[in-house]
Amino acid sequence: MVTDRHEAPKPVDRAVAYGEGALELAGRALDPNRPGGASLALGQLLLREAFLAAARVACKDDSLASVEAALDALHRIEMPGRTENGHVWNASALIAQRDLVDRAALKRAELEVARLLDVAAGRRRVARASRRALWVVLGVVVLTAAAATLAALSLRRPWERYTWASSSGWSGSRQTGTLGDHDWMYDLVFHTDEQQNPWVIVDLLAQRMVEKVTIVNRSDCCQERGLPLEIDLAGPDGKFFQVALRTTVFDVWEATFPRQRARFLRLQANSKTALHFRDIEIR
């Protein structure tokens, strides 16, 4: 009995192997890069052989002799993977035609016969390849989009457009500008004179929600200046209220506070000192 079970599938395997061999040879004949170019007639003949072999397996009927007979038999039986029967029809129709056969039509037929042989042999190579291609293309698109989004988010600094005005400008320094402008020597956004309670007011250009202000101090010297430093916010009416205060020296101060709607932000030192910072980020 065991031997019988081993021997039983042999004709099916032989038919599948025959069909695959015919399909491979058909593929070679249809390759436009073949010596002398694609041989459409030979490709069509070999595709018919592969199709018949696959149909024999599907129908378990060795007597099939023509494409039309295979077509009828396939139409009558329940095929595994019923939804793929449409491809059977398309393939057989294309293979059966003796006129109107071109390279693209035969390539479609080749693909459909490959699908049919897959089904007959209980494999999913062609279906998997179709899905794989979609995943690969989708994966590349998503990865590229993600990388582009990350790059855009990393480089996005909307506060660099905000304008500022200061109480004074040290030795010819500007008293107005944007937060994106830095001087070429010390990389400072602004530098006030040494004066009593110097200040800088930043115009956010519109009412915005603010919850975090990051101030990067001058790095070459004089970090003790500008203290105690308070951060005030104001609405369109210009009435400032304090949201944060710093009394100790810092390299980078990340001041966080409850979300507030504001149009203006003011940095003010409550002593006789100068204000000079490298970056002000407002989020």
Partner: protein, 513 residues
């Protein structure tokens, strides 16, 4: 049939079989005559005088072979070709011969581009139009008339692609050696195509190697054997620099480019602060190799004992001009630029990212739009034609050519779809899959390497990829035309449509092709 009649029949037979080649050759000849006569395009031989890719003419005249042997950061063949012609035939005749050679290279590019498309199954009409447009384009003419490595490299890579298709057809060891050998030859013209790229190509082709009807050695073993010889040639070229000069080919440029690229993304004040604090050296973002060492900050100088080889020891040349290949520049790059690049990349990644994004933006531009400071008569003469063709093909919206921004990635994705999809699994697509994989690897490599490392002229580097984009475009166009034809045919009464009317066929939908 009498003799003249036979001749006419033979000629007509030849024309009917090879009309695309005849048409493209005629377009090539006609367009060149127009460009030369009407637009006064001449052969631009100025690059060897001052481009850092070349050995100085003074050294070519006095110490040519040794200079090429000790060339340390550039591939040798372009210098060997140009210098060899100058030495053998004299400067004037040498340049005339090179002009003829470059015209031949232009014709080779046109015909191999067409041949590759036809071999890949592109329809004759589409292939002919695409190859003719590429050939007659002012960009192609400009690069063909520019004594630089781009034209030879483009030709060699297309020849390598055609040789790859031949390798798929024949499957012999010699066909494989031709394919990989031609690619390796392009690597000897342009150092960026090094052994690793060749290995990547070989590994990709191993997945579906050429498998003709022949017994004997396994196709994969044969492919590895075919890869080995060209790989050894490229490896020996790299070893030459390591052994003779003591430094790896291209390393100095790599670190210098990375340092300069990241430095360019910093704010001027940030740069000054970093230099003043001693975090980075005073290299001031300069591409040191193109200028004399007197331009380099004194704190970076690294005196070394003379090697006795002029190309390594001389900074400036007695006849004037700069030697871009002196050993001190390599030492400076490896001592200072390397350290600076590592520091900047580790601490200022957003500065690098800023430069990278700018590079990607510039990549999607016409290859004619490289370095504006390089003003040559050919560029000036072609400016009007370029502007007019760009107005038609590359509508410009504030500097970004959106057609390229959309089309080039779409073509790349189409290529990926072709090699990974169901069609890629078919035997009839084996050679096409291999050829598309070859093109995609080169496109991905050049795009990533150039935008990620180089500091300028990104669209110029893309010139060598444009033939591959043309091929992918022609394949896509052929597919679309075939789909259109299929839709038109299925609307006509035929056996196919009769069968397709069955409910089963209707439920399965259209073919995926």
């Amino acid at each position: 049939m009498n003799a003249p009649g036979k001749r006419v029949a033979t000629l007509l037979g030849f024309l009917s079989r090879h009309w695309p080649y005849v048409v493209v050759a005629l377009v090539f000849a006609t367009s060149r005559v127009i460009y030369w006569r009407v637009l006064s395009i001449g052969f631009d031989t100025s690059p060897p005088d001052y481009f850092m890719q070349y050995v100085s003419p003074w050294l070519i005249q006095r110490d040519f072979l040794r200079s090429v042997l000790y060339l340390n950061q550039q591939a040798p063949l372009q210098n060997l070709l140009v210098g060899g012609c100058e030495r053998l035939f004299g400067t004037h005749a040498g340049f005339a011969i090179l002009h003829v050679l470059y015209v031949g290279i232009g014709l080779t590019i046109a015909l191999t581009l067409l041949h590759a498309m036809l071999r890949l199954g592109v329809s004759s009409a589409i292939a002919t139009v695409a190859a003719a447009l590429h050939t007659a384009s002012p960009v192609t003419v400009h690069y063909e008339n520019w004594l630089f490595y781009h034209a030879p490299v483009a030709a060699l890579q297309l020849l390598s692609l055609v040789a790859l298709l031949r390798y798929y057809r024949r499957g012999t060891l010699s066909a494989g050696i031709w394919c990989f050998g031609l690619f390796a030859l392009s690597g000897l013209f342009y150092a960026n195509f090094g052994p690793l790229v060749l290995v990547a190509l070989g590994v990709a082709l191993l997945i579906r190697p050429p498998r003709p009807d022949r017994a004997g050695v396994s196709p994969r073993v044969r492919l590895i054997a075919a890869l080995a010889i060209p790989l050894c040639v490229l490896g020996l070229d790299r070893a030459r620099t390591r052994v003779l000069v003591g430094h790896n080919q291209g390393d100095a440029y790599l670190w210098m480019n990375l340092a300069v690229k990241t430095y360019a993304g910093l704010r001027p004040g940030e740069r000054t602060l970093l230099e003043n604090k001693g975090d980075i050296s005073h290299f001031r973002g300069s591409i040191m190799f193109s200028g004399p060492l007197s331009y380099v900050d004194p704190s970076l100088r690294i005196p070394h004992p003379p090697t006795g080889v002029p190309i390594l020891d001389l900074d400036t040349l007695p006849a004037g001009g700069v030697n871009a290949h002196s050993l001190e520049k390599v030492l400076i790059a490896e001592s200072f630029y390397k350290k600076d690049a590592k520091f900047l990349l580790a601490n200022y990644p957003t500065a690098y990212l800023r430069s990278f994004v700018e590079a990607v933006r510039e990549y999607f531009a016409s290859p004619m739009d490289y370095d504006d400071s390089l003003v040559t008569p050919n560029r000036e003469n072609l400016r009007t034609v370029v502007e007019e063709t760009n107005a038609v093909f590359l509508p410009d919206d504030g500097g970004t050519e959106w057609l390229l921004v959309v089309l080039l990635p779409v073509l790349f994705l189409y290529g990926l779809y072709r090699i990974t999809g169901a069609r890629g699994a078919l035997e009839s697509e084996r050679s096409i899959t291999g050829a598309i994989a070859y093109m995609l690897i080169l496109i991905a490599y050049v795009t990533i390497a150039m935008t990620g490392v180089a500091v300028c002229d990104f669209m110029r580097y893309r010139y060598n990829l444009d033939p591959f984009y043309v091929i992918l475009f022609a394949l896509l166009a052929t597919d679309l035309v075939e789909r259109g034809k299929k839709a038109w045919r299925s609307s006509r009464p035929s056996l196919s449509s009769a069968l397709n009317k069955s409910p089963l066929a209707a439920s399965a939908g259209a073919s995926t092709l």
